[in-house]
Each structure stands twice: as structure tokens, then as C-alpha cells.
């Protein structure tokens, strides 16, 4: 068999390449069915799962209401050291890009934290972006939270562009990823 293939190598190659080309043609994507951006899932390329959570002032914020703006969701707790370490960088980029439309939603995993500790944490660091309280852990569950902090970068269309698990994220990383959200 091996010798037969080697004897007719040119014919074998042409047949294989032609069969591959035919397979490529028949397996081409139907663009109307290919878009993952219409399905909601906590993964790059999918629509970000929607949620509504309240701030410490009682204001309800719904993610889908922010469609049209780039959004960064940061899941955190007050006892998590990397969360604390990356908050100043988040505040810097919020100050620089909020007027362009960037929204940062800092979602406290309150089911594994205490609201009072979270509020003290926010005051201590002087954070100005919205702090949301995930009291029953539903958002952590929706986004398959595996480790703290976790940051989800969402573009204007509401599609997840990247999920960064762990931290602290450097300011340079935040700036480059946020810039791509505006494109």
C-alpha cells in the first residue's frame, strides 16, 4: 500500500488536495447560522448574560440597558488581595474613559463577602464607578465564576470580547483591552 502510494505520489497528492478543496467548499459556514453573538453564554464571542443588580444606594442597574456602551464587569470581594490591588487601575481607566462611554460595573460577590466590608472597601479606595451587590451569587453563577477577581470585557453590541480570570490586572492591560472595546 505504502509503495503503491509512493509510486503514484503525484496522483495521490492531487486527489487528496482536490478532496480537501471539495470538503472545504461543502463545509463552508452559513453566515446566518454562525453567529454566536445571538446566544447568551459566559464565553468570548457570546452575548453577555443579562442581569439586574442594585447598588448600595438602591439604584437598579440592568446590563442590557447599557447596550451601545463598552462595559467592563469586575467580580470581586473585599477579602481578595488581587481584587484590592487592581482597583486603583480600574479607577484610573474609569476616570479616563467614562466620558467616552465606558461603564465599569464592580459586582461584589456578596454571597461570599459582607456588604458592610464591601462598602468600607469602596470608601477606603475612593472608587467612583457603580458597585453592585450580588447577594445570592446569581451573577457569579451566570458567569461561571471560578476565581477572584474575574473581569469581563463587553463591546458596544453586548458581546464578550475577553474574560480575564485572576489578577491583579495591570493598568496597561486594562487600557489596551478597553481601547479594543471602542473599535
Amino acid at each position: 500500500m505504502k509503495t503503491f502510494i509512493f509510486k503514484h505520489w503525484t496522483l495521490f497528492s492531487i486527489t487528496l488536495l482536490a478532496a480537501s478543496a471539495v470538503w472545504i467548499w461543502f463545509s463552508r459556514v452559513d453566515p446566518s447560522l454562525a453567529s454566536a453573538a445571538e446566544t447568551s453564554a459566559p464565553h468570548k464571542g457570546f452575548l453577555a448574560p443579562d442581569f439586574s443588580l442594585s447598588t448600595s444606594e438602591g439604584e437598579i442597574i440592568t446590563l442590557s440597558d447599557l447596550r451601545g456602551q463598552p462595559v467592563l464587569i469586575n467580580l470581586w470581594t473585599s477579602w481578595c488581595s488581587p481584587c484590592k490591588a487592581e482597583m486603583p487601575a480600574l479607577e484610573h481607566v474609569y476616570q479616563d474613559y467614562n466620558h467616552d462611554g465606558l461603564e465599569i460595573l464592580a459586582v461584589n460577590s456578596t454571597n461570599q463577602d459582607k456588604a458592610a466590608n464591601a462598602i468600607a472597601f469602596v470608601q477606603d479606595l475612593g472608587l467612583t464607578f457603580p458597585i453592585l451587590f450580588d447577594n445570592n451569587g446569581s451573577v457569579s453563577k451566570q458567569y461561571h465564576l471560578q476565581a477572584l477577581p474575574t473581569s469581563i470585557f463587553i463591546n458596544r453590541a453586548g458581546v464578550i470580547q475577553e474574560i480575564v480570570v485572576g489578577g491583579p490586572m495591570s493598568e496597561a492591560l486594562l487600557r489596551t483591552r478597553i481601547k479594543t472595546l471602542f473599535k
Binding site: 505520489w9 495521490f12 497528492s13 488536495l17 472545504i24 463545509s27 463552508r28 476565581a147 492591560l173 489596551t176
Partner: protein, 242 residues
């Protein structure tokens, strides 16, 4: 899917760990069998390590050049250990250039070197498929087939498992301890790996749900794999049969 492994207070990123293990195992295999291809194990080991280190530095430098503004406020971030601040193609380019320079300085022959590195590439392909399985990336198209897996809101082709099985089969076929390629011309072993992998990619890519495609729906990765397959077949013809 197991993106994170919790060991006590540690949260370990499984895909990264699997890729590191793949490099280590692949390099060990290459070191062991390098003499079979007329290469010195230590030189091959150094070639890989130097290329990886150069690739990481190059990837960071290319990233800084691409996004200089991001580093203006905190220039110290240039040396941050964050793996997200890397430019993949910049890293590949730098690693290739350094490998060529090192190879030239050490007087390495082109095809025997690639032959010696082939086991490492085959093992790394297995590790890559495992890393994709653990992270849930490279996911499949929705399917009603009974072996479909529930992932990202749909029953999907388990493309990561398809890729894993094919990578293991290719590793088995090309296992360096075999006699099959012992008498083959230099380079045929490597080109066989390239041909088998690109052929498998053309076939399996059709089941993926996240492939970038051209207008008209032709998948870009399949076209690139077709070109690589053609080059491999032509190369084998040139090296072995002429």
C-alpha cells in the same frame, strides 16, 4: 471543562499548566530521540529554550510597540509578568529569527533539526487540544448527534475531543521510537507531521462553531491548512521521491 484547578488557596489556570507540561514532555521526548536524527540532545534543548525565552521577550516588545500609549502612565508594566500583555505573532517571529540565528551559529542542518523537533510538536498538539478542552475554547457547532456535549448554551460537537483523538493518533503514527521513518530522507518525518496535522485540521475545522470565515462562508483556517498540506506533499515528493 476545567479552566481553574483549586488547590487550597491557589487557583491554577489549567490550560496554561497543560501547555507547560506539553512543552516539558515534548522537549524530553525530543532530547531522548535527537541522536537518532544526528542531532546533539543538549543543542536541541538549548535551541528550544532560547527560542521560547526570545519569543516571550519579543512578544512583549511587539505588544509595547503596538500599544505604546497604554504603557505611558505606568512604564513599569513593560516588565510585568502578566501573560496577557503579549503579541502572539511578534513572539513567533522573534522566536523563529532567534532559532535561525542560533541554528546557524551552531551549524545545525535544517531538515535534521526539524526532524528532531517533530516529536515535541506532536506532543504539544496533544497538549493544545487538552488545553482547549479544559478552557472550552475551539468549541463545536450545534448538533443533535448523541455524542454532542452541552457547552455554551447548546448541544455541540465535542471538537476539542475530536482534536485530542486525532493528535494522539498522529503522535502514535509518528512515535519517534518507530522504525517507519528511520530510512526516510531528512525532512520527510517533519513534513509527514505537517501534512497529517494540516489534513486533520481541514477535516475537523468543519465542525467548529467559532471559526473565522471569509465572505461566502469559507473558513480561513481550512484554506491555510490546505496550502500547508500542498507544501508538505510537494516537499515529500522533492525530498523522498526525486
Amino acid at each position: 471543562m476545567l479552566p481553574i484547578l483549586h488547590i487550597g488557596p491557589l487557583a491554577i489556570q489549567v490550560p496554561g499548566l497543560v501547555l507547560l507540561l506539553g512543552v516539558w514532555l515534548g522537549l524530553s521526548l525530543t532530547e531522548r530521540f535527537a541522536p537518532r536524527y544526528g542531532m546533539e540532545s543538549k543543542i536541541i534543548y538549548n535551541l528550544v529554550i532560547i527560542s521560547i525565552l526570545a519569543g516571550v521577550v519579543g512578544a512583549r516588545l511587539f505588544y509595547v510597540v503596538r500599544f505604546p500609549d497604554a504603557f505611558l502612565s505606568k512604564p513599569a508594566s513593560i516588565i510585568s509578568i502578566n501573560p496577557s500583555l503579549l503579541d502572539l505573532w511578534g513572539g513567533v517571529l522573534t522566536a523563529t529569527m532567534i532559532a535561525l540565528i542560533y541554528g546557524r551559529r551552531m551549524g545545525l542542518s535544517f531538515w535534521p533539526t526539524l526532524n528532531a523537533l517533530t516529536p515535541a510538536m506532536a506532543v504539544f498538539s496533544v497538549a493544545l487540544a487538552l488545553a482547549q478542552l479544559s478552557s472550552g475554547s475551539h468549541y463545536g457547532m450545534p448538533t443533535n448527534l448523541p455524542w454532542g456535549i452541552e457547552l455554551w448554551g447548546a448541544q455541540r460537537h465535542p471538537t476539542q475531543i475530536y482534536e485530542l483523538i486525532v493528535a494522539i493518533i498522529i503522535l502514535f503514527i509518528l512515535w519517534p521510537g518507530r522504525e517507519t521513518f528511520k530510512s526516510a530522507s531528512p525532512g520527510v518525518y517533519f513534513l509527514s507531521f505537517l501534512g497529517l496535522s494540516s489534513g486533520a485540521y481541514i477535516f475537523l475545522e468543519a465542525f467548529r462553531g467559532d471559526s473565522p470565515f471569509l465572505p461566502g462562508g469559507i473558513r480561513i483556517a481550512q484554506l491555510i491548512a490546505l496550502i500547508i498540506l500542498a507544501v508538505s506533499l510537494w516537499g515529500i515528493n522533492q525530498l523522498e521521491l526525486r
